[in-house]
């Protein structure tokens, strides 16, 4: 285990704590840059979705993980970003103009949502954000002069300074990677600034933060605005990637998927957003593969274990019938959420930290290091 002896404050807030970080993140970045030349076009497009989900995940971690404000309305922010891009593009603006414009507009809407959130907390905030998302969805469906209503809207290829960037090109991949790296750096930088520390103080105890002189209202609105603006940027990329947007793409289920990203990844660190996004996006192709392979595998396993061939054939049929049943994906999603909350409350990043600590402290690792405090007293929970 390496121990960094800190002698000044700059060392304490440094993003890359020691030379090991340079190596590991450098290798990771090199791999990501080499990726489009190594993998097929299907996998590349999945990875672009991972990037987009990860940007939303970073946005949610700033809001939920660091400021402690829950939101089930992020699909609406994504929609606002996507529709702003689509509309401004159809008005003949270039990508360099409408990309920041979408972020600014979504950020402004986010700040507007932040104001009611000042007085709300816990479950009341969750339901208020759900209500906001419903209203946005309905506006998108009704405001036909701008959004084309339920028919949906076609989004043309990005025109970057006269250079077209098709949605499945390497350039689009790098654009998404650039935005993701940018938003991660933004989040990390935010966290080591007074603003980020104020966010964390608000999460840990509003009353204590207030008595330390932190302007609750201002920081909550800021947190909502930053989170919404990041989601709006992701929305622009999402719109271009899908090349077609319609209101029913941005439902509550998408918001739940975004929350799943940070729950599965771990909401206490930016790494969690990326890990969760990989999990959420990859679970779908993975299930499709399983659907084809598992029945064959199960049947051959049953025959080797001494089952009669026709019984094994029947088993194979039953398994593939279950595999192709309509609601299977939802059931597995539900199970994944429940399992993670029950058994892995710190998410994938938490598991990674545990494994790392286990090897660092090898014989001395204690499980209780990661134990969470339970609170049964209402007044304690009522921060």
């Amino acid at each position: 285990m390496r121990f960094v002896f800190k002698t000044d404050y700059d060392q304490d807030i440094r993003l890359l704590k020691h030379s090991g970080y340079w190596w590991s993140y450098g290798v990771l970045l090199a791999l990501l840059i080499a990726f489009p030349y190594l993998v097929g076009s299907y996998l590349q497009s999945q990875i672009v979705f991972v990037f987009i989900y990860a940007i939303v995940g970073v946005a949610l971690i700033i809001l939920t993980g660091f400021t402690g404000q829950a939101s089930l309305g992020h699909a609406a922010f994504l929609a606002i970003g996507a529709y702003t891009a689509g509309f401004l593009q159809s008005q003949g603006m270039s990508f360099i103009v409408y990309f920041p414009a979408a972020a600014i507009i979504t950020g402004a809407v986010g700040a507007m949502v932040g104001f009611p959130a000042l007085r709300l907390s816990g479950i009341y905030l969750v339901i208020a954000t759900i209500a906001f998302a419903f209203i946005v969805e309905e506006i998108l469906a009704r405001w036909e002069s701008v959004t084309h209503g339920n028919e949906g809207m076609r989004v043309r290829t990005i025109d970057f300074l006269g250079q077209p960037i098709p949605r499945d090109s390497d350039a689009f991949y790098f654009l998404c990677l650039l935005v993701l790296v940018g938003s991660i750096l933004l989040a990390l930088n935010l966290l080591r600034s007074p603003t980020g520390r104020a966010f964390i103080a608000i999460r840990d105890s509003e009353t204590a933060a207030k008595s330390m002189g932190i302007d609750l209202a201002g920081y909550k609105v800021k947190s909502f605005a930053i989170s919404a603006a990041l989601t709006g940027m992701a929305g622009v990329l999402f719109a271009h990637k899908m090349s077609f947007i319609s209101p029913e793409m941005f439902t509550l289920l998408l918001s739940i998927e975004f929350i799943m990203v940070i729950i599965i990844g771990g909401a206490f660190g930016v790494h969690g957003a990326v890990l969760g996004a990989i999990f959420i996006v990859m679970v779908d192709p993975f299930l499709t593969t399983l659907k084809d392979d598992v029945p064959v595998l199960g049947a051959s396993l049953a025959t080797t274990l001494g089952m009669a061939p026709d019984a094994a054939g029947k088993l194979k049929e039953t398994m593939s019938a279950i595999g192709s049943a309509a609601g299977l994906k939802g059931a597995i999603y539900g199970l994944i959420i429940m399992m993670f909350i029950l058994f892995e409350p710190y998410g994938l990043y938490g598991r990674w930290l545990k494994v790392k600590l286990f090897f660092q402290l090898f014989p001395l690792y204690k499980k209780a290091t990661f134990k969470r405090q339970k609170t049964y007293v209402k007044s304690e929970r009522n921060r």
């Binding site: 816990g122 479950i123 339901i127 208020a128 739940i256 959420i337 029950l342």
Partner: protein
């Protein structure tokens, strides 16, 4: 004017449905501070159980009703034991997510078992109307109104006047202190989940002739019942009923008088306005904050 009253009555009937589901939210919240997003799906499951007992096995309506409610009570207890008890005491949001996951799971499983078609059962309330002057109320809607009022009164009395109800209120106030006073907290929480699931099943059975039985009915109604509970102030039984009535009446009137599209949004707009003015709902307790 008659139009208005007719709309008002059907709004009240709809509101009672929301109130009935909201009642389930409130019961669990009152005792354990857990917000159960899967309440609508428990209701849906209750509908499927009653379909199994009446439509498939062929029992009498009332017997099937009773069996479905009992089965759901057991199911609620099992859910509490397996999913909720291990994470009780952790941050509220993770419990909310766990129940959202449960809802996802139940919806898909129900769709896989019973199929995705609309199912219907024969009930004594399926046809027939009551006429009050020019006013027409269908029996199925009337049965929902009556059942909601009865359940509200019974539950209100249960919470305020019985030993067990007092124990439940004590548990909701402070779990540790209740435990020290000799209240069997775990059993109380199990029981509250059983009651809540039974209420949900009742709603599901009464709704069967109105909305039919479908695996997505829980999500749609649950998302409307949720604002109802919030509007009334989570944790207040009369509040749930009144919140449900307000949402139901607003939705129906908005659907009748306002242009298309307002019907689904109007309840949420009202909810946001109410939350802006009173952050804990209309009848919610205004808590003092402690550091």
């Amino acid at each position: 004017m008659l139009d208005f009253i007719q709309q008002l009555v059907s709004g009240i009937a709809l509101g009672c449905v929301y109130g009935l589901i909201a009642l389930g939210f409130v019961l669990i919240y009152k005792a354990t501070e857990v917000v159960n997003f899967a309440q609508g799906d428990l209701m849906m499951l209750g509908g499927f159980f009653v379909f199994t007992f009446i439509g498939l096995i062929g029992l009498d309506y009332w017997l099937g009703f009773l069996f479905a409610v009992c089965a759901m009570a057991v199911f609620g207890m099992a859910t509490e034991r397996v999913l909720i008890r291990p994470i009780l005491g952790y941050p509220q949001f993770s419990i909310v997510m766990a129940t959202i996951g449960l809802g996802y799971f139940l919806r898909s499983i129900a769709g896989m078992i019973w199929g995705t078609d609309d199912l219907r059962i024969e009930t004594p309330f399926s046809s027939g109307v009551v006429k009050l002057g020019d006013l027409v109320i269908a029996h199925d809607k009337l049965s929902v109104i009556v059942a909601t009022v009865i359940l509200c009164v019974v539950l209100y009395a249960f919470f305020n006047f019985t030993r067990m109800g007092t124990a439940m209120r004590a548990t909701s106030e402070n779990m540790l202190a209740a435990y020290y006073m000799g209240i069997p907290v775990k059993r109380v929480v199990s029981l509250i989940w059983a009651i809540s699931a039974a209420v949900a099943a009742t709603a599901g059975v009464l709704l069967a002739p109105i909305t039919f039985i479908h695996s997505n009915v829980g999500l749609a109604l649950g998302l409307k019942a949720f604002p109802a509970a919030v509007l009334g102030g989570f944790g207040s039984i009369p509040g749930a009923l009144i919140g449900g009535l307000i949402i139901g009446v607003i939705e129906t009137l908005a659907g009748f008088y306002l242009p298309q599209g307002w019907k689904d949004v109007a309840p949420y707009i009202v909810l946001l306005i109410v939350l802006l003015v009173r952050p804990h709902g209309l009848f919610g307790p205004s808590m003092r904050k402690k550091v």
